[in-house]
């Protein structure tokens, strides 16, 4: 228990002493201490007021509740009516399902935003076939004899690049149609189309080779005073993806029958896929040879 003279231990019992909750023996001890200690006696007076207040409040008038059992019963019956018969259909059980559905919806929306509904031109099988036909070396097709009319350095560069084969194929098509062109069109393309199989791989390789050849040829042309289409037109045209078309026409171009544009022969997307299909006519090469380097 506690010592009689210990004010600290007495103060712990003052509330219970005021509420008459202490055993008889301890009640007498506290009483004896309070007779001797004025400080504890003053503290006890405050405790007594607090206990009296609490008891008065406990037994006093507390407002009546405004809601009774009928209101709660109505709420419980309504709740029972709307409670789902199966536990897995209750709202608490459906929360994870709803969260998963929301996440799936967001993911689908994100994917739709990234990939449009219309297929990319580069991925259509038809254009892949055209590219393969344009790029793949074909047996029995003779190289045009007048490629020798090209400046030797350009021929060397194109031969080194391996893109000449593709150019010859397109040129054969032009010659068979009786078209003439006074322009040389080169489309350096950073091939980025996606595809599968050996055809697409061949197209990618051709595009890479052609781009490298064009870059080397352009740097050589700049060194020799060659003007690029950017310098001529000031505003180079952007191809369908990333390529820049460089066009230079001689002064006789206006007198020449207009050559069909490259885009008319093969759709631009195929150029993008294949990398390049330059075409030139013998007339243009002849005139260019007379006037100087055309490329």
């Amino acid at each position: 228990m506690f010592k009689i003279g210990s004010c600290r231990s007495i103060s712990r019992c003052l509330w219970d002493y005021a509420a008459y909750r202490l055993p008889e023996v301890e009640m007498e001890r506290v009483e004896r201490h309070l007779q001797e200690c004025a400080r504890c006696c003053a503290e006890f007076e405050t405790y007594r007021q607090s206990v009296t207040l609490i008891e008065a409040g406990r037994n006093g008038s507390i407002p009546e509740s405004r809601r009774d059992w009928s209101a709660l019963r109505g709420a419980l019956e309504t709740q029972a009516v709307y409670r789902a018969p199966w536990p897995f259909l209750r709202p608490s059980a459906l929360r994870p399902v709803a969260a998963a559905a929301a996440v799936a919806l967001l993911f689908a929306a994100h994917e739709l935003r990234r990939a449009p509904l219309t297929p990319r031109p580069a991925e259509s099988p038809r254009s892949s076939l055209r590219i393969a036909q344009a790029v793949k070396p074909q047996r029995g097709v003779q190289p045009p004899p007048d490629t020798r009319a090209l400046p030797q350095r350009d021929l060397d560069r194109l031969a080194m690049s391996g893109a000449l084969q593709a150019a010859r194929i397109v040129l054969d098509g032009h010659a068979a149609a009786g078209r003439a062109s006074a322009s040389i069109v080169a489309i350096p393309v950073a091939y980025s189309g996606r595809g599968a199989g050996s055809e697409a791989a061949a197209a990618r390789r051709a595009a890479g080779r052609l781009k490298a050849a064009h870059q080397s040829a352009r740097s050589a042309g700049e060194r020799s005073g060659f003007r690029t289409a950017r310098q001529i037109e000031r505003r180079p045209k952007q191809t369908e993806q990333t390529g820049i078309r460089f066009t230079q026409r001689s002064s006789e171009d206006s007198a020449m029958p207009e050559a069909p544009s490259v885009e008319e022969v093969v759709p631009a997307r195929d150029y993008v896929m294949a990398g390049l299909a330059p075409h030139m006519s013998p007339v243009a090469r002849q005139s260019n040879r007379e006037e100087g380097p055309i490329w």
């Binding site: 509330w15 607090s50 609490i54 409040g57 006093g60 008038s61 029972a80």
Partner: protein, 199 residues
Amino acid sequence: MTMASTVGGSVQLPEDQLVARCRAGDLDAFGAIYAQYERQIFRHAYFLLGHRDDADDVKQETFLKAYNAMPNFRGQCSMLTWLMKICGNLCRDRIKARLRHKEVLYDPQTAQEFFGADTHSVDPRYVVERADTTEIILRVLSALPEPQRNLIVLHEVEGLSCKQIAEILECSATSVKLRLFRARRLFKDRVESMLNLRG
């Protein structure tokens, strides 16, 4: 815990049988539990919140939650202790919400008694008695921190033992005694300062 409950002068079923019936969806059995503990729950909420409408809401919500959670009641403590725990948690949430939203309490009845036009029609002795007991208690309790307020109400007003309070607060009985001593001392200091202010 088997305990025969008496409501309205008629002996009701023991508490565990009432709980079993409640689990089976018997609303009348739950009505018996409601009738037995409704007043204590309301008083507990009233002393903790200090407002009749809030106490009403908390009381109904307590029994609603208790009915829904009846399958989880394991019977390790008495029904009163369990209900007091639910009620204390709801009151604590409401007090926190008040602190967040800075609510200003307004009790029409109190305002009418103290400031309204019908002040003269109310018995002055009743007003003085109310002001000297319940109102002072509510003011002192509202000045206490929520855990100590809960302890004072549970032990001094509701008369729960330290063991029952320990079950509610999920701590040891020794810890409850220590906290109760501090809460009493703080309550006494608040009462002393309030009485000094009143002269």
